[in-house]
Amino acid sequence: MVGVTTLIVYGLTLSLEIRRGSAVYLLPVLLAGWHLGLVPALVAAVAGVLWSGYFFFSPYYSFFVVQPNEIVNLTLFMVVAVVTSHLANSMKQQTELARKREKEMGNLYAFSRRLAVASSAADIYHAIAEHLANLVQRKVVLFGAGALATQGGASEQALLSERVRAAIAEIEAGRSPASTVEDGAGDVWFVRRVSEKTADFGVIAIGSVPAENVEEVRQRVDEVLADAAATLERLDVARVLNDARMRSETELLREALIGSVSHELRTPLASILGAATVLSKSPGIAADERLTSLASVVRDESERLNNDIQNLLDATRVSRKQITPRQEWIEPQDIVNSALERRRRRLASHKVALDMETNLPLIYVDAVLVEQAFVQVVDNAAKYSPAGSAIILGAKRNSRHVVLSVRDAGAGLTAEENGHIYERFFRGERHAATTPGSGLGLWIAQAFVHANGGKIEAVSAGADCGTMVEIHLPFAATQPEVAPDE
């Protein structure tokens, strides 16, 4: 550069008769200082002194300088060049710093704007992950926060090493607020909770942190997360309040609907059914078989209607996910017996047999929900198998489950039907026209069984080969005990 400058300057001196062209050598010093740093600038300064001594100071074309004023000139040039190069260099640094700051400020501003307009926790998590990745130029993975965070899916988690996952689990469990961990492949990860106060908002892991500036990264992450956590806390409160308000509104509406449906439809049903039972026992009618059978038609049909209403109400509960099991220890046989008792009239025309093992383990379930599920299955058996055929209610155990079952000799299931029976409103085509039904029963039964940690399965050899439906409910290996009687 100094050479180029010399050529230009030499050209200038020849054409323009400029003497004392040495000042021009400040130019490379300045440029070197700006672009290359302090040392190149000093080199340029020294080179400038030498070259200008060679070209512009007498004796020309020699590094010797004889005239005292020219020596002073060159010394001054040297001083000016050093100072200039230093100034140029530090100015460049300042500018760079200012630019970086500006960029950071821009990011931070964008980040805080995103936080301010964030309407969901997922927005915030997204913003945090992006902003941190941008800021520290590292890989950022967010975890947990229950259903709140959408970041850090299973695939991302799977990429992490065992050690990092252990550290994350440690922090998620709330045993420490932050830690630094080496992942086994020489990569240092900084892991901390999003919020200092609680582990509820999830955990953030920042990868490839250079060991020497862990502290710096930590500090910046802390700054960013302080803001974000505050927003999350604010938003979370808002969300909870909002949810509660929404819930209480829908709850009210639901209560009103269910209340009015059950009252409006059931009250007359209760009168009809009750009146029918009184009639069937009254002297005039009890003596006439035709009349008592009519009375029992009224009773049976109003019971069926009542079940349909109950199914509708249960379906609302299921679709609103408002099934909260009240679990207690229960004898599995009690559930089968209770269902049988409840459906005794309905099963009167079938040959019902019980096949229950003795000494089954106690199960910890909501007995009422499981019984309702079992009743649905019993109803199906009664509905889809001919009068006079056998229905076998069973209770047995396998290695980990108690299995309640209903086996009938009825319409059976085709493979196609078996794939759909748990769908809401599904009705088999073979029966849609001939057997009334809503297609809700098994869907409700399945929801009730799932709510109790169980599963429901139907087995059938095919159309008209009968069906066996099993409800599997897990039992605890350690059964509850009671102190022996004194």
Binding site: A270, G274, A275, V278, R326, A367, E486
Partner: protein
């Protein structure tokens, strides 16, 4: 049992109509109230022998009527409840209801509950010591239990459990009541104690313990020893 006065408390006129018919056919005298205030007034004035109480009343909650009634009266109360609310049933039973039937219900079921409750009160006042249920006889005075005449041995807690159920024979007894009476308040939620003891008792008294005919489970609520045959009863 005849000439007992039943007070029907329900705001639905059709329900009152069939209840009146059913109860009168069974030999009851009947009074009707269509709201809580009237019910409390009639219960005082007419000295009802049994109250059939609906929960949804226009002026006050059925449970409030029950609470006020229990302030001064031990009259048997059968609650008419809606399905799927075991918590409410338990609460009412704990607050002094003698039993419940779930709407819609058949008349026979209500009559069975009502008779069981009436018999319990009669037995308590007459000091009748033996409760007989099919092959089972429980002599509450001598503390002897026999099945088909053969004495069976029960542990003290097994006997206590059976005794409480026998005292309430025909009516449901809640888990909480049994647990509190037998194991004390700290064990109010240890329903598995009951499951284990009932299993043992069934093995001793039932012909087929997996299909009990006498000691029945009311899911989510409690246990019921089926109604004993009244000395002077005609089979229904």
């Amino acid at each position: 049992m005849s000439e007992a006065l039943a007070l029907i408390v329900d705001d639905e006129v059709q329900i009152r109509r069939f209840l009146r018919a059913g109860l009168e056919l069974d030999g009851f005298l009947v009074e009707e109230a269509e709201n809580g205030t009237e019910a409390l007034k009639l219960a005082t004035l007419k000295a009802a022998d049994i109250v059939i109480l609906d929960l949804g009343l226009p002026d006050m909650d059925g449970s409030e009527v029950l609470e006020r009634l229990r302030g001064w009266s031990t009259v048997p109360v059968i609650v008419l409840s809606v399905r799927s609310n075991e918590t409410e049933k338990v609460r009412l039973l704990e607050n002094g209801a003698d039993d419940y039937v779930v709407k819609p219900f058949g008349m026979a079921e209500l009559l069975a509950r009502a008779h069981a409750a009436l018999r319990r009160y009669a037995r308590a006042s007459a000091g009748e010591p033996v409760v007989k249920i099919g092959p089972l006889a429980i002599d509450l005075a001598a503390r002897i239990v026999t099945v088909e005449g053969a004495r069976i041995m029960l542990t003290p807690k097994e006997y206590r459990l059976l005794q409480i159920l026998a005292q309430h024979a025909g009516n449901v007894v809640t888990h909480q009541f049994l647990l509190k009476e037998i194991w004390g308040s700290p064990h109010l939620h240890d329903t598995h104690y009951l499951r284990i003891f009932v299993r043992k008792i069934r093995q001793k008294i039932e012909t087929n313990p997996t299909q009990p005919r006498m000691l029945l489970t009311e899911l989510g609520v409690g246990y019921r020893l089926v109604a004993p045959e009244p000395a002077n009863s005609v089979p229904a």
